[in-house]
Structures are given as C-alpha cells and as structure tokens.
C-alpha cells in the first residue's frame, strides 16, 4: 500500500524509445524501471487520446464510455457530430471515486476534463479547452494562482502540423516548462493523495519531428539540424520528472504511463477515394481540389458507406431506416459490412504490397456498445498508414497529409512503469492493459476496486 500515488502521463510515449533506445539516457525513468516494473501498456481500440485517457482513468472500455474519438455521432443523421467533452464522461473517474472517499486529487492536463467538474482537490483541464479565457480550472480561483505563477498557461501548442519547426519546438518547450512549474507548485502547495500530470508536448514533438530521427522514415533527411530534437526533449522531460520525484516522499507510489505509442507514418489511405473507386460512395460532383468530405454534396441514394480521417478510420454504413437516406437493407447489413471488412483487409500500398490492415467490429471488441459507434474501425497498415478523409485527391494513396505535415502515427501500445512502497516485483511485465491503471491506483491506496471496472489491478 502507498500513502499517495503520483502519475506522469506522457501522451504518446512508445515503449521502444523509453525502454530500449534511450533508456540509458533517461536517468530518472531508467531508475524507476530498475526499482520497479515496466512493460508495454495495451491501449484502447482506437489508440487515440480520446477515448484512451478516459479509459485509463475509469477502467472502462470505449464501448462502455460511449465515445470512440474526439467527435462522435450525436444521432444517425449525416452531420450531427458532438465533441466528447467532460459532460460525456458519465462513468466514475479515479478522482470521482477518491473524492467520495475524501481523498484529494490534483489533476493536470487530462483530456476530457473541460468543462471542469468539481472534485475534492484541484484540476486544470487539457488541450481540449477552447482557450485560456475560459474557466479551465477547478476550483475557479485556481486559475488566478496558475496565471500568477506562469503568466499565460499553455494548454497546447498553436499548430503542430507546420513547417515552422523552430517556432513549434520553442512552443513545445515553453508549454512543458510552464506545465511542470505549475505541477511542482501544486505538488508542494496542495494536499493530495493522487496526483496526475499529463504532458501533451511529447505527442506534438512526435508528430512534428519524427521524420528527422527515424532513418527508416520515408522522409528522413540525414544531417538535419532537427535530428536530435526528439531525444533532447525526452531528456528534458526526464529531468522534469526527476525534479518532481525528488519532491515525492518514499511513501508515494509512482507510475509513468502513456495513452498509446507512436510509430513512423508511411502515408495516408484516402478512404473516401477508395470507397468512390469501389462504388460504395457517390458524390454529386467530384471536387477539383482537395476538400473535406463534409463540404461536398454526397449522393446518399447511391452511397453505401463513408469514412472519417484521422490516425485510424471510422467507417459508417448508410443503412435503410437508420440513416435518413439509407440504402443498405437491414437484412443485408452484416453481409455488406463483412464484404467491406474483407476488402479493406486486402488493401495494398502503391506498389501492390499487402499492408496488413486490421478491421474491427465494435460489438466484437467491447463488452457493450453505448452511444453511436462507427460500423467499422479500421487500422490501415496496422496504423502505419493514416486515414485521409478528404476528397479530390484522385488516388487512394497519398504521402502529403491533408491536414498538414505529420510524420508519426499512433501505435497500439504505450508505456507503463510502476514503483511502489514495499513492492517486490522487478523487471519487465506483460499483459498490461490501459484499463488496469485505475484499479491499480485504487488498490495502491487501499481502496476496493468497483466490480464494474473492466481492468484489473496490476500486481507489484
């Protein structure tokens, strides 16, 4: 048992960089790994910020949570999408449970916490907040305290898909420095039993600088001045973690976690171009330039399916009696969906090489499916290829991202490191799942794990 639990959330940290490639350089993370256990943390399907972090903090799958990405269908119309903000989180988070047990939490940068809900402790929302003129803290008066300390608090960088790399890099450091300054202040100034700080900078640096360090990346440029940028930032984060570790007592359990990993991006699969080629999607008029699907007129009466872009693809079927102008008879839903699945799994790269696309049916991967899930969840090339939703590209494969330069995609496994008082286990652990984190926190603090949590406490 521990008196307190301190978690570092490193958005997007992949196992190979932390556990292998830079382990020797990351003194503090390396020491935690030596003194405790570590292993790959299997993320949610899909392995995306939303829903992954909330799955981690509730111990529940996306199906139970009822959201499957940043934006989700509000109903079966074609354009009603809602942001999965804190209002959509209806399952208890770790800090909800701890609050009822009178334990105090400090939560910084956790996605899906805006608008902030009350808790026993304090909370600073995440990059999914309109801007800092909003009420982004609980209690409200904490905002003044934060801004008194660091001036403008940076929820995120302005734009990570940019060619202005120097500016992006400067912003990432400024943001991280301010966040950790606030974290250290709250760590010392507030009473807490549970403390979590999530740093989004790592995700941003992966997306912005991956191609400069990964020699296997299609766009790798040898000798770039940015070649060492990612490693330097990892070291900087390790230093920040070290400073906070020195403030934590020996009675504190420490975890380092990520919501998913990262891998180089090979390119993009233009899902809607593919659907059009196959006759599954019909536009009233083909656009002459690259535009989002939402801006063109779709001939719904001649459309079977459409897809959304992102690190993975959400595919929606146009079903009679469900969508306003559905075309697929309900009795044929299964057959059509299976055919699409098979064809997507057979996708190749531009040279005809099989890319190993994985396709999931929601009801087969979640214990329940709440809200409106996509009909199919697609990992192009097992996440080495991004899903491009735009139309007008004129080919299925693209190597220019429709939403700006992006070098990395998400991968299924993030990281987990744990060191706890009295813990005897050491070394590498396997079979760890993102939903195991919440029960582990409760168990470390000597509390009962609710029966409806889908994860299990990780034994130390």
């Amino acid at each position: 048992m521990a008196e307190r639990v301190l978690i570092f959330g490193l958005d997007c940290a992949p196992p190979d960089l932390v556990f292998d490639r830079w382990r020797g350089d990351l003194k503090n993370l390396g020491r935690l790994m030596e003194q405790g256990i570590y292993g790959e943390l299997e993320s949610t399907i899909p392995p995306i910020t939303v829903p992954a972090w909330t799955s981690m903090m509730t111990g529940k799958s996306p199906g139970t949570l009822g959201f499957y990405g940043f934006r989700n269908r509000a109903d079966y119309s074609y354009d009603a999408m809602v942001f999965a903000n804190s209002q959509y989180v209806r399952e208890d988070t770790v800090w909800d449970i701890l609050s009822r047990k009178r334990k105090r939490s400090v939560v910084i940068g956790m996605p899906q916490t805006y608008p902030p809900k009350p808790l026993n402790g304090c909370l600073i929302t995440s990059f999914l907040t309109p801007n800092t003129t909003c009420q982004y803290t609980y209690p409200p008066e904490l905002k003044g305290e934060v801004e008194g300390l660091v001036g403008e608090y940076m929820l995120d960088v302005e734009n990570f898909r940019t060619d202005e790399k120097d500016r992006l890099l400067r912003q990432i450091y400024e943001m991280t420095e301010r966040r950790f300054k606030v974290a250290k202040h709250l760590m010392a100034a507030k009473p807490w039993d549970f403390f979590i700080v999530v740093e989004i900078g790592l995700d941003r640096i992966h997306h912005g600088f991956w191609k400069f360090f990964d020699k296997d990346h299609r766009k790798y440029q040898p000798g770039s001045k940015y070649e060492g940028v990612m490693r330097d930032y990892y070291l900087y984060l390790d230093h920040q973690v070290g400073e906070m570790l020195s403030m934590a007592g020996s009675d504190t359990a420490i975890m380092v976690v990520s919501d998913h990993g990262a891998k180089r991006m090979e390119g993009g699969i233009c899902i809607n171009e593919w659907l059009m080629d196959k006759g599954y999607l019909t536009l009233e008029e083909r656009p002459r330039e690259v535009v989002p699907l939402s801006t063109v007129k779709i001939d719904w009466d001649r459309t079977t399916a459409w897809g959304e872009g992102g690190y993975y693809c959400r595919l929606f079927l146009n079903v009679k009696g469900r969508e306003p102008r559905g075309t697929i008879e309900r009795s044929r839903y299964g057959e059509v969906r299976d055919r699409l699945k098979r064809e997507l799994e057979g996708l190749t790269d531009e040279n005809g090489n099989h890319i190993g696309t994985r396709v999931f049916k929601p009801e087969e991967i979640y214990p329940v499916v709440k809200g409106i899930a996509p009909d199919l969840i697609v990992y192009f090339g097992d996440l080495r290829w991004r899903s491009v939703g735009s139309v007008g590209i004129g080919s299925v494969h693209t190597f220019e991202n429709d939403t700006g330069p992006d070098d990395a995609n998400h991968s299924q496994h993030g990281i987990f490191i744990m060191k706890a008082p009295g813990m005897k286990a050491r070394g590498k652990s396997s079979g760890l799942h993102i939903m195991d984190v919440a029960p582990t926190v409760l168990k470390l603090l000597g509390l009962q794990v609710p029966e409806d949590m889908e994860g299990k406490a990780i034994e130390g």
Binding site: F70, R71, F83, N85, S86, Q87, D92, D96, I97, S99, R100, R102, P115, P116, K117, P118, L119, N120, L128, T129, P130, N131, C134, D156, E158, N159, F160, R161, G310, N401, T403, G404, D406
Partner: protein, 200 residues
Amino acid sequence: MERGFTVWFTGLSCSGKTTVSRQVAEELRKRGLKVEILDGDVVRTNLSKGLGFSKEDRDINIKRIGFVCKLLSRNGVVAIGAAISPYREVRDYNRREIGDFVEVYCKCPLEVCIERDVKGLYKKALAGEIPNYTGVSDPYEEPLDPEVVLETDKEEERESVAKVVRKLEELRYVQPAEAVSYSEEEEETIKQRLTDLGYL
C-alpha cells in the same frame, strides 16, 4: 439509479441543523434527487418515541436514525440526518455503517444557541428543570474531522447551504446545478482549434 448517500448534521440545539438541512434538501430536490430528512425532534415523536436522554437512549436514537439513513442511501435516496448526536463514537459508528456519509458540523457558540433558544428549552435547562441537556448539563463532543463546518453565528444561511452543496459536488455525490457544457461559441472555437491542429 442515482447514488444515495447520507448527510449528517450535528451540533447543539438551536445551532441551525434543521434550518440548513431543510434548505439543502430543497436545493437537492431541485436537482432531481430524492431526499428524505430525518430530524431528531421528529424522530423522537415516532421511531424513537419513549426514549429518554441518557447516553444509552441517545445512542439508540442515533443508531436508529443511522439505520434508516443507511436503508434510504442504499436505495438511491439522499438521507439527511439532523440530530444533536452529541457523542462522537456513535456518529462514527453511523459513518462506518453507512459508508457514503458526509458529516456537517453546525458550529455555533453555546451562548448564541442560548440566545436563540427557539423552543425555550435552554431556559428550562439552565433553571435545572431539564436534566441531561446537551451543552448545559450533558457534553457535546465536537467532530474531529467533519466534511463541512458551518459557523452558523457568522455565516448567512445561504452561505451555509452553499458550503454544504459545494462540498457534495466536490465529493462527487451531486452534479453541479448548471450543466456545464460548451456554449455554441466555445464549440465553434474548439472545432476551429482541432481543425487547425489537424485532428478534424
């Protein structure tokens, strides 16, 4: 089913338990919760009729109220207990039994309570006409670590009510009154931001 819990008001007679608890109940009902108040004075006319004011009888009375609060709480009702409940041990017993238990201490100096003397009982107790009267001839053991302390001699009634409700929100028993959500303008701002970031 909504999550039930117990809010337990303790404090000297005339310290404000009944007044504040009624208003808290009203506020929670406005938020769609089922609420039942078990007021010490009322309970003594039925559930605990015949019990006196010895320590033993007082403990039985408080345990009975606690028992009913427990039944209500586990069936999704917000149970509000409002009783002097002068002994720490039995209050803590109820806390253990009920689990989801929020203790509200109505802290008010004895002299202020005597001044208020709504029912004229302090006067009688001070004249020696009522034995075992809490604060006069019987002890009151302050809670050591209540969830909420109300200083009813210093605070406005509405401040006290707000303090209790805010604590219930922080302890995640109660949702905030105004559903916090994106305004249309905020929704547009965040959509634009996520578009700029390339997520959409």
